[in-house]
Amino acid sequence: MLIVRRRAGEAIVVAGDVEIEVIEITRTRVKLGVRAPREVSVTRREAQTVASENRNAAGLLAACAVDADILGFFGKISGKGAKTAEGTADM
């Protein structure tokens, strides 16, 4: 791992066109600014795990259509049989 010491206002450049600047340093945190081409994905590390989980979550309803066990969870949560219904509600 490359270790570089930087102060607020200083930056490093990765692969020629990705610039990471130290915006602010506090006692417990560092605020970073990233300038990168639009096609370069920049995410926090914890967001990568959540992104995978979200893709799985987005497939839950599709899974219900083909897997009776999954469909059954609706009934467990609502206390009623799993079925499709229409309606509206305010909150």
Binding site: T43, R44, E46, A47, Q48, V50, A51, S52, E53, N54, R55, N56, A57, A58, G59, L60, L61, A62, A63, D67, D69, I70, G72, F73, F74, K76, I77, S78, G79, K80, K83, T84, A85, E86, G87, T88, A89, D90, M91
Partner: protein, 163 residues
């Protein structure tokens, strides 16, 4: 905030969804996600949909893609002791005052996204969906030090912490 409906009404937007059928909503019920969701960064507009027979589930339907729909539950149903911690970035995105602690239910709605796990569902409470009820802004809060953990729905219909 008003949850959207599957039935039609006048002066409302309509989307024919893959999983919920036709959903209508007005501007007051639409959520704005400044950064989308991890893995779905382009999904900036979502509609919370509640289906009476499936309460307390809340479906988060994308406005942009008819097939994108998440299933969620209020976090307090999964974990009554849920501890709301927002990062500075969360507060900025939600336009909340960092110095004030928002109240779940009156200031913010906190939802747990459900996903498949074997024959049941589980959720990561370290990545709840937070909705500012005063302005409908929405983020998925990723707090590295929250350590709330993962919960799975067991065969008895009870949520149990798995890690």
């Amino acid at each position: 905030m008003t949850l959207a409906a599957q039935s039609e009404s006048e002066c409302a937007d309509v989307i024919e969804t893959t999983h919920l059928g036709k959903v209508t909503w007005d501007s007051g019920s639409e959520l704005y996600l400044p950064s989308g969701l991890p893995g779905f960064e382009e999904e900036r507009r979502m509609i919370p949909v509640e289906v009476p027979v499936h309460r307390p589930l809340v479906f988060l339907q994308s406005v942009r893609h008819s097939e994108v729909c998440f299933v969620s539950l209020p976090v307090l149903i999964v974990c009554p002791d849920f501890d709301l911690r927002l990062t500075e970035d969360d507060c900025a995105a939600l336009m909340l005052d960092e110095k004030e602690t928002p109240r779940i239910g009156s200031d913010v709605l906190c939802l747990a996204l459900l996903r498949r796990s074997g024959g049941t569902v589980e959720t990561n409470l370290d990545a709840p969906i937070i909705i500012n009820l005063h302005n409908s802004r929405c983020v998925q809060s990723l707090s590295p030090d929250a350590a709330r953990g993962y919960y799975r729905l067991n065969d008895e219909g009870v949520w149990e912490r798995i890690c």
